[in-house]
Symmetry: D2
């Protein structure tokens, strides 16, 4: 069971002005140590190395997702929509607040190296021996399980899942606005109030009145721009790559039995992939940045060099490639080795759309629920069938290959005679 | 000697939209590891525990101070003012950029416990064996010394010092705008463009045209509001106090020869107050937060409890006091001891104006240069002689005593019979 | 009786984002011709000649006042405050919307010359044979009378009057924000959301929780700055003076039996002060500006010159005076006459605080209800007893005398030998 | 010849913060009566009836176009680009400021009815016996002619014309930002600073560095949204149609020798299409609104009804049509006549793309210069060849037919038995 707070609490928030808390359960969840840990995880990972304002944490984003969900539900209640299952209010709010609670430090690189997955960890935290679990169990014994199902998108009511996780969910709406605000890149701004006005529960779905179509177009256009201007920015990618190489190297050294001067719990468990929920709690970005700092003094030259690069922002350079010519890349690897630079750790080919490229592609089978428009005659239509602009954005394939390598490679190339093909590849004239 | 960059570089900044870099020296300074380290120091210390948006770093603030200084000088140059010593341009820019380079993690608490001082460290970094020093020496052999003098406010030209450090300097102007932006508290907004339009070099001073007086009033009013709404917020103060107690306890344990399970370089040097510039570089907030996390598992119960409190935001409660009654406080201390709570670490009386309360008080002898207005007849007048509103703000003494203690103390009090005077003090009915 | 609208209607508003209409009565009132007429009356009279963005109308301000009142009441209802007389909701909303419906073109100058009063006209429109009256009567036969009483501040419940008209009413809150937005002068911005959060009905008054005191200080400071930066700007005053002289001259000519080439209904009734409600409806700024344009071709040289000055923004110059020396002013008048310039129409001494200077002065007997703070113990205190900053602003007397005259006077003075005292007065060297 | 002002002047502007005037010629132009007249012409014609904030004038827009041009040129000068013809600075500034000086009241409707053209009038004002002409002639005897050529797009240097009039000119950039600001519709916001940073003079063209392509995409997307959300809004179109019908009726009556109760100069000249420059000056929106008010009391029922509709915002209703079925429309006209409603004045079919639909369509032969991107190898490419998003927007054909008619028609239809086809057409069930 849950109780209303005796007096509404607020958090001052630069994006939504205020975040309103009316339920004791929400207040208690925010005060758990697992939720407070999100203050020590950057919302945008390494992006602050490209956009210095992007230093905000998953803590403030999680509050923002909660607040947008609260606003949507409060609109549903104000309008007394029959199709809204009002008994699911608290479940939606809790799942919104907690959907990112399992995020680790620099998630992309860590997950890629060690095979963890943040959604699994969110569920483990919700279900495990944690403060979060204790607060949720006060609502009802099965409540933690329900929250975990919403996060895992297996909950039996689509309408609940889609508030937290769909093509137009509270998560995306908050991060676009928030990331735009903190980076200073105003492409991410869209008319949230307009969308909140036209969103409706309808026959088990979350839909939008057709009159709000232009607001949705604008939102999808913002998303498109933010992906290409911010999230896939090649400097951010470069930092991700360096970080991934660091973890790869450390893991390799660990497997080879190398003795680290600096090794703190729970890093060994991370390397062995045996982390418990309690150990996972200690794994924040403060720890990872401390490890990078200490390892920048390790005697292994690759590990120490890569860590210094990350800390001091001497990242890898890049050139754009139209396509990959494997023999040429092999030749480049060979040359790097001849210079004493290990291509395993100093060369990477990156293709943004390998990532979870979040364009709206209604045609493709996607885990994300599509955006549905509701017209005056109560007919539902998937938005791209009505909007030319959405069709246009959906059809765009933009990714280009990027080749990353250390700037020093160019100095070495300049002092040697290298093949014209390699010169051209590396943009050396 | 310095060179212009072949092409102007920009940083996207949410406060100033863009930050423009035109000089190679500035570009190189930003890329030093000492300057990059500022990314790992919060601009507002523990304030993010009160205003969750306040997660911005001294890195972005330092760029902002540089940018405002650049804008002021560029206005001076555009108007070709005779009283502007144009040869000092690069010195002003470098000092603006570097004035905070010596800030450590959670400066207030650390400085209070270990007697370090961030301005001294800024000078040591500028003058020591650092990348910053190497970049500055490329300008001229004496340039690092000049920069250090501006930071230490001993440089022989007041006009240079006052751009970086006065009652209306680039530092204050940036932090008010930036802290307002990131906290979401809009009291800190003032009309920067208007001030930039009326600022002038005049007979060795930085002055403002009298026609801009209202903009300055507005700036001082913003400053007043930010101090009382944000900087002296009792929750932020509570976090500062907990942090100070942690360092005090750790220092005490270290002096007693206690063996820490977690102890990394350069913490021992910090305790012994023998930090070198190289060791200071490692002392960032990632390290301090990692120490707090690891120490939350130490066997010393006071240290471990205080660290958990900070990390999980279970800070100390507070009550406001009109005045301090020493016998009553002694009685409270006694009672706490009887409950097994050490008042040395769990009780604190705080008075904001003990801090460097930054109200504009032209009458008092202050290290800060006052604000001068220039009228049509080229007469200079200190602003409070012209503005009633400034006189009003200057005269306000607002500080109240706050008594901080753990919430658990109240539970224990409730289960015992305690004196009515103590009940009243702790707001127990 | 009133009905809710089948579907909420919205107006896009740049200040409040959206204005929400939920009642048929409000919707119908907005669509009356008397309310639509407000589109043809500038909110800030002649201020657009100083701040070119200030071209907004009383129509948008009136919607804004309504919206703030609606937000306040909706907060009261959400919190189910016992002290809120919920049956007064519609009355408050209608009075908010209509409080300015009687404003005429360039109210200050017209009212000064012809002795009309906009509040009286608001009541006449509410009570007369108008579309507004017909809509109100559909609520109940006595409803128009109630609305008129609220506008006239004679309604028997203070709480209703004070929402629309007090030191912190919806009217002032909207105009500060709106005038700041449209002029671009950001001094008028204050934290409306914070004030909306702490406002309460309490024992027949509208009060503010003490915790919101700083937000009120900020609001009063904004008001102070807007008055001196915008509302009393000497160029705006100059335009008011020219306009007043035009009406004075036209009235004089009319009384002398002069035949105007241009004279349209209802101008003769205005001159004779016999306007009916139907005639008043035609009296908008389009008509007045057309009269000014046509009169700029009248054969009376004074009328034609003054009209050209207003239309083409060749206003009167001004100098600031510490005090009025009557003999010197008489001497100036004499000299003007000798130049053939009639001081009756070309000289004016202005003192801003002659105007309804809207500083917050709780001590003085004022028609405006004061601002009351409510503390934790349910005690009410007038704000200036708690806030030093409010005491400071309240005590400031800033007005200076301004002497207005045509620039051409200076040219004539320069070609003659005039007394040193007059030279000094007019700032001629 | 022109002189710099002794001291830079500024106008406070809500969109650009400040507008800076440095040249005496610009200052004098702003103070001419022809330029001041623009204060009495709405920037967005009848749009204020849809978006009540849209009450801004062509005066503020014209200042904004000047300011953006000034910023672009000042960037060119700061970077000392060889390809910039610096001798054309003043010409560009004057043409920017004056390009709209010939706009009449409610231009679209007036131009449609009376065949005037605002660009022709701008040239007539620049070249005729006007204050504007006198100020320009002080620069040089041929200067007015040059300004007129730039406005008419016949000036021999494309680079000069394209600053004022191209697909990415100062005019469009200002109006998108300004109209977005005043309507409150934030779709019009784009990153002006970014565009100002990447714009370049290059071999006689104004081009953009390819790195700024995303900012241009965003600008074009904003334009697309503003057209469909604001400029082509059916309520605004409805007001335009009513206005057009009013002028059509008045012209018809005039031709039939009808005696108007209200008829002022220069309306007869407008009807006869013999306006002189001096008469055109009197033709502002104050006059037109006064005419509408007076004509609302004319004895011709059609004229009087249409004028009341416009003033009191009882516009025509509309339904959307996929296509035009001529026989059905004829049937509707017949029915209207049988009800005594003249379809000539009360029925209209509107198709937005009949208007100057300002989508970016590089393929079509257009008077507007296209947007060119400059890559690292100094190659120019038209933007739609590089940007998929621009190609998408360019290809969209969105216009739908709208049928406008009075709401009263529906009441009459309801009381009669009308054909099912007409019922369906008018959405009567």
């Amino acid at each position: 069971m849950t109780l209303p707070l005796r007096e509404e609490k607020v958090f001052k928030d630069p994006v939504h002005k205020y975040i309103y808390v009316q339920d004791r359960t929400i207040w208690d969840l925010i005060n758990t140590k697992e939720f407070q840990r999100l203050r020590r995880i950057h919302q945008l990972g390494t992006c602050f190395l490209t956009f210095h304002g992007a230093e905000h944490s998953r803590f403030s984003h999680s509050l923002g997702v909660y607040e947008i969900t609260r606003k949507i539900i409060s609109q549903f209640e104000r309008n007394r929509y029959d199709d809204w299952p009002s008994e699911e209010r608290l479940l939606c709010l809790c799942a919104s607040l907690l959907h990112d609670v399992g995020h680790g430090p620099f998630s992309h690189s860590i997950e890629k190296t060690f095979g963890t997955h943040h959604e699994d960890w969110s569920c483990r935290i919700v279900l495990g021996d944690t403060e979060v679990n204790r607060v949720l169990r006060e609502v009802s014994p099965t409540f933690p399980q329900q929250v975990a199902e919403v996060i895992a998108k297996t909950y039996h009511k689509e309408i609940v899942v889609s508030l937290v996780s769909s093509q137009l969910d509270a998560d995306r709406m908050d991060y676009l606005l928030r990331d735009a605000y903190f980076t200073g890149v105003n492409y991410g701004m869209f008319d949230l109030e307009r969308i909140l006005r036209v969103i409706r529960p309808f026959q088990g779905h979350i839909v939008l009145k057709e009159s709000g179509m232009h607001a949705v177009e604008d939102y999808l256009m913002s998303r498109y721009q933010m992906y290409w201007q911010v999230y896939f920015h090649p400097v951010t990618r470069s930092a991700e790559i360096v970080l991934h190489k660091i973890f790869q190297r450390a893991k390799q050294l660990h497997e080879e039995g190398y003795t680290f001067s600096f090794m703190l719990p729970p890093l060994p468990s991370l390397f062995r992939q045996t982390l418990t929920v309690q150990e996972y709690h200690m794994l924040d970005e403060a720890l990872m940045q401390t490890a990078l700092m200490q390892w920048s003094y390790e005697r292994d030259p690759v590990l120490s060099d890569l860590c210094s690069r990350f800390l001091n922002r001497c990242l890898l350079k890049y050139v754009m490639l139209e396509r990959i010519e494997t023999p040429l890349i092999d030749q480049l690897r060979e040359m790097m080795r001849s210079f004493g630079i290990d291509p395993e750790y100093y060369l990477e080919i990156d293709f943004p759309s390998d990532l979870s490229y979040d364009v709206y592609r209604p045609g493709e089978h996607d885990e994300k629920l599509p955006i549905l428009l509701l017209d005056n005659k109560d007919t539902l239509t998937e938005i791209s069938r009505k909007s030319e602009i959405v069709r246009s954005i959906s059809g765009i394939h933009m990714g280009k290959y990027h080749l990353y390598f250390p700037e020093e490679l160019l100095d070495q190339c300049r002092s040697q005679s290298i093949s014209p093909a390699l010169c051209k590849l590396l943009r050396l004239e």
